[in-house]
């Protein structure tokens, strides 16, 4: 019953690399992707830092063989990541099995919608972007680019836990036999909409984010796309596929406390972690490493830290947040961190929580600050979002 779901492919693009290998190289060399914003002209450019993908839309369109200004950034990033994931999984004929695509996004094509908001009325030059406003359009464009037709393709938007929920739904669908193979993850680009929205909430740091630090000043927004291929045991054994790791547990709960803030004691987070452990059929002491949500906002890190203590008591395992590398990539955060978790399992490493100096006064939790080698079998990864959405995923080396 507690059998994990096989992960057979991964693909990603983020501020620290255009593919999985580049991301891993940055992680183990401690190289951050957070910097001043370059590609979006905003009045806040001197007050914020972001995790921006260095490639421009034009670069991406050239790489993918699309005409200029044909796509918004969200599908461009998504197509890069999805193609890499399919390649690693060795999938040539995507229609061979009942295959689905589930993507998480918060902005969809908002970058173009805001750019041409008034231009749409002036002339028809950018009308190709009108339909991009709805989030599902970005997912359908990814489906088109990978040749996925006549299939289940959907989009999830649960704020910063979107990709976790995409992975969870995919795993549930495979376990239940609804589909044989699912590409799950998410894609989110930076936009003025998001930058200004988070600015009004006053949770953006003007310097490098410092998760779980007493003097943390808020988050750095980021952008990324990350997809994983999940396949049924039947495909894995029939094609003798190499399994990278397994989705072993998942839990989704709502904090039901506030539209944007987490409860002081992390009720939703505790429930999500407990559910995930139960689905995985493991006890807290079997977790070797926690990839924390750790956004570096005062509220999240306190709430998550307390939730960790409630679930793991006095034995909180090694934990770190990788947000100082990538920024907070919103809908994709859990996708990025799912891939980092699989890499951690494959390479037996724990990533450093960069920028940490001073432990928080509320508890004695200290994240790992240096790259650490450790035999890793089981990782728990958290993602929490607006609307009280809390999700936890558990990845394992063995099924």
């Amino acid at each position: 019953m507690n059998q994990g779901v096989a992960i057979t492919g991964m693909g990603m693009i983020s501020a620290i690399g255009n593919n999985v290998a580049e991301n891993f190289a940055s992680l183990i060399s401690g190289k951050t992707g957070v910097s001043k914003i370059k590609q979006i002209k905003t009045v806040h450019e001197n007050e914020i830092m972001v995790g921006e993908v260095p490639l421009t839309n034009e670069d991406l369109e050239k790489l993918l063989g699309f005409p200029s200004d044909s796509h918004s950034r969200t599908p461009l990033l998504g197509i890069m990541a999805a193609k890499e994931a399919l390649k690693q999984a060795g999938i040539q004929d995507i229609s061979e099995y009942r295959t689905g695509l589930i993507s998480g996004t918060t902005v969809g094509g908002m970058d173009k919608s805001e750019q041409y908001f008034y231009d749409f009325y002036e002339n028809n030059a950018h009308w190709n972007h009108i339909n991009g406003l709805h989030a599902g359009d970005s997912t359908q464009k990814i489906a088109d680019a990978i040749g996925l037709s006549k299939s289940f393709v959907t989009t999830i938007s649960t704020a910063c836990s979107s990709a976790a929920n995409a992975i969870m739904l995919g795993a549930r669908m495979i376990k239940s036999g609804e589909l044989d193979r699912i590409i799950v993850g998410g894609s989110d680009s930076l936009s003025k909409f998001t930058i200004n929205g988070f600015k009004t909430l006053m949770i953006l740091s003007d310097t490098y984010n410092t998760p779980f630090d007493e003097n943390r000043k808020g988050l750095n927004l980021g952008e990324a796309a990350a997809f994983l291929v999940l396949e049924s045991d039947a495909i894995v054994s029939k094609e003798n596929k190499q399994v990278l790791a397994y989705v072993k547990g998942y839990g989704n709960a709502n904090d039901a406390f506030h539209q944007t803030a987490s409860s002081e004691h992390g009720d939703g987070a505790v429930l999500a972690m407990e559910k995930a452990l139960k689905v995985a059929g493991i006890s807290p002491k079997e977790v070797d490493y926690i990839n924390a949500h750790g956004t570096a906002t005062p509220n999240n890190d306190l709430s998550e830290g307390r939730a960790l203590q409630r679930v793991f008591k006095d034995n909180v395992p090694e934990f770190s947040s990788t947000k100082p590398f990538t920024g907070h990539t919103l809908a994709v955060a859990a996708g990025v961190e799912a891939i980092y978790s699989v890499l951690s399992i494959q390479n037996n490493v724990i990533y450093p929580n960069l920028n940490f100096k001073t432990p928080m006064s509320e508890f004695n939790l200290v994240p790992e600050t240096k790259l650490k080698n450790k035999e890793i079998h089981t990782i728990l990864s958290n993602s929490f979002g607006f609307g009280g959405n809390c999700s936890t995923l558990i990845f394992t080396k063995e099924a």
Partner: protein
């Protein structure tokens, strides 16, 4: 053994007076236009006036339809809340972007941004109900609700949950209407309700609303029907629609002969409706056919 799934209640706010479950379309509201707003229930009966003041229309409509669905099912809480929405509380997103552009990214306030988050309706229902269970939001255009339904069915069939509140919501917003008229997704000329289905023009008449249902793997007195199966396809050549439906019926050991009727999605878009017209004169020729989008305008 997978459990059966039942639809135990309905709550609906639409362009018709559907918010009161004591009747259904006894009196039809006429309209003429390219978009139609929902018939407003008395929101004060459902939402404290102070809270309603800055509340997005999508949240308000959903407060009414979700509460009505919960009352009819005789429940105060559920195991999960799943919402589908094409565009979320779009009115607030549009205003936030407009303010951002008009004021050079200055003087913005958080409320509109918060309500722009697609999951704001699911979050707000959970908050009101104190529901700490599974909470999901699907945002895939016209299959947002179907995705929600599939998810709910999966959980109920596999006994991961016993009762789930499932719904969908979308708002009519000016900028969206105008821009989609440019690309012929929405009709350019106003049409009266009785003429929509034979308008002979491209595009649809756009509507808004919020509809919630309690699904359960337990049958009860209020049960409307069983949800047996569903199929979702991101693309499908028109030449394969009929065969796909036949295969879908076959996988449930059914044929069209077993059906008492079929509900079709005719929406008055001259190019789109040919799919339904073809089905109506071939596969479904022998059985009663129902259409509804000229009344509801939900797309």
């Amino acid at each position: 053994m997978k459990k059966e799934v039942f639809i135990n209640s309905v709550g609906s706010v639409s362009v018709q007076k559907t918010f009161d479950n004591s009747g259904f379309l006894d009196e039809v509201v006429n309209y003429e236009g390219t978009s139609v707003k929902a018939v407003d229930p008395n929101y004060k009966e459902y939402i404290p006036p102070a809270a309603a003041r800055r509340m997005a229309k999508g949240i308000k409509m959903s407060a009414v339809s979700s509460q009505n669905a919960m009352i009819e099912a005789g429940l105060e809480n559920v195991d999960a809340i799943i919402v589908g929405t094409g565009l979320g509380c779009l009115g607030d997103s549009e205003k936030f972007v407009r303010d951002l552009l008009d004021n050079d990214e200055q003087y913005l306030t958080p409320t509109r941004f918060i309500q722009s988050s697609h999951n704001t309706v699911a979050g707000s229902i959970a908050l009101d109900m104190g529901c700490k269970g599974y909470n999901f939001t699907y945002v895939h255009a016209n299959i947002s609700f179907e995705s929600s339904l599939w998810d709910a069915k999966l959980q109920l069939a596999n006994e991961e949950a016993e009762t789930i509140l499932v719904g969908a919501v979308d708002e009519v917003v000016d900028h969206h209407i105008k821009t989609h008229q440019f690309i012929d997704h929405i009709k350019k000329e106003p049409v009266a309700m009785e003429n929509v289905l034979r308008s002979g023009t491209k595009g649809i008449v756009f509507g808004e609303g919020s509809h919630f249902f309690v699904l359960s793997n337990q049958k009860q007195e209020s049960t409307y029907s069983k949800l047996v199966d569903l199929g979702v396809y991101n693309t499908l050549p028109t030449t394969e629609v009929s065969e796909t439906i036949s295969d879908f019926l076959k996988r449930n050991d059914l044929s069209t002969k077993d059906l008492d009727g079929v509900i079709l999605g005719n929406n008055g878009d001259v190019e789109h409706d040919s799919i339904y017209n073809d089905l109506g004169t071939s596969l479904f020729k022998e059985i009663p056919q129902f259409v509804y989008k000229h009344l509801s305008r939900r797309v």
